[in-house]
Symmetry: C2
Amino acid sequence: MKILIDTYGADKGEKVLVDGAIKAQEKRNFTPVFVGNKDKIEELIDGRIKDYEIIHTDEFISNDEDPARAIRRKKNASIVLAFEKSKEEGYDGVLSAGSTGALLAGGLFIAKRIKGIDRACLATSLPTLGETTLLMDTGANMDCKKEFLEEFGLMGKVYLENVLNIENPKIGLLNVGVEEHKGNKLAKETYALLKEANLNFVGNIEARDLFTGKVNVILADGFDGNIAIKTAEGIFSLMGKELKDVFYKSLSNKLAAGILKKDLKSMFNKFSADEVGGAPLLGVKSYAYKAHGNANEIAISNAILGLMDYIDKNVIEKIEGELI
Amino acid sequence: MKILIDTYGADKGEKVLVDGAIKAQEKRNFTPVFVGNKDKIEELIDGRIKDYEIIHTDEFISNDEDPARAIRRKKNASIVLAFEKSKEEGYDGVLSAGSTGALLAGGLFIAKRIKGIDRACLATSLPTLGETTLLMDTGANMDCKKEFLEEFGLMGKVYLENVLNIENPKIGLLNVGVEEHKGNKLAKETYALLKEANLNFVGNIEARDLFTGKVNVILADGFDGNIAIKTAEGIFSLMGKELKDVFYKSLSNKLAAGILKKDLKSMFNKFSADEVGGAPLLGVKSYAYKAHGNANEIAISNAILGLMDYIDKNVIEKIEGELI
């Protein structure tokens, strides 16, 4: 299997992408196809692996650019070259830790949408106390129509059934209350549509239940989904800081924290974005995966492995099958 | 000062409202005017205080009802009677832990809007590492226009300057990125409007910065604001549970947790909604405060004290003054 890896866009630079790919290759056989500066990449690989390809470019799309315009104009941007190549036989998927907008625009304008799908979206796995929960969308589509959310539900269902073996996944709608009449215009309209849809729709989910694992898919427009995951990140990091303050407050606290350290670390890891590593971009005709901008090499490695699972299960063909 | 206290609507029943009022009376002199079932309230007071009034009713508006319709039809609902009374000389403010929608509808239809204000909103204090931050709106207005958010900003400014003595408060816009071009239609339009407004607008705030205290007001429509605070509640409660699991995992963990207990408790208290107790409903001509549905008596007591500060500073008159 050949995985195209955009080496631009990670907060920590090309190194995490190269190291992450090498780490993933220790776990599963595949050929990383690095897209980026050839010299830099070879220097970073430093002879550690033999099985790789490089597509050289110095051009990339940053977070500050208008993604749709940049995708059309920057013909040699790393994400553009990666998506172009992904259409060729033998190149199986695209991984990027760069601009979400550029990934989405590349998916839409180069890979193109799956026939019958209006919008592509990111399906982010949430850390939960219960069942696997995907939040869709988490940032690809800012202003959604109810039909888009229904499509997200359908794609989430196919993804979960095939990649994660969850039968008849429960679909919920992110809303400000559980009652049917609650919410903004979009939420009310979507509720009415989902009630009639061929999905296992279980009703509204309040944001405080995002992490309790009550349902397998939580539908939201990309603005709200993004607000939710970034709020969670914010409070998570705040609590981490506050805990550290408590642990360093006194010598006795330090000793007590030392005893708890290992268990606390594994608890924090459970909620770390690194475990999942990334999110599939569903709805386009290439297998594409978005890693977090501040991913480390473990996150990148897990994202690559997740992307390969996604490719193995032919999810794109199965989504197409559902739409016929 | 006389404070009208709707005794219906708290998850824990009338008791928390009565006990909270008694607790507040220990700290500051005022007359609670309980609105609810007379016998029940007197039984709960049980002779502990002498200075109080009761407005008897058995009718109330629940969370399941359409608030606007219920406010018009249920002439004897506790929140209706409270708002009616608040218009009389000598009755200074309204506290409710019940349906947010009913509080808002009561404010709009009975107290009426401040002239020049299109929408009333809830201004919720966030726990932060830095400066005081109000999130506005957190659930009163589901579908907002850009002008509403500008109004929220103006009201937040007046509230903070007067009640919390924060000079020229910094106003931010909740968005999915810091760049000006980011966001949904409402966010982009609001950004453009706020740039020209007579406010100390400092730009977009990502949800991960809700709790870092970078700004004093974060503007959002009520849907998004509600998603944000409930997400924070969810992850906070999840982390609390997970920490407990770590602490009870082994005897040595239990001993270590025992050492940290006091400091952890005070850390968790810092983030507890009980400290602030409630949020002012800004934009209507009565002083009204919303306590959390699952408030305990400490939260209710703090909410009553906060409401009295709000009344002391004549914020309504000052908002009116800004609009002339």
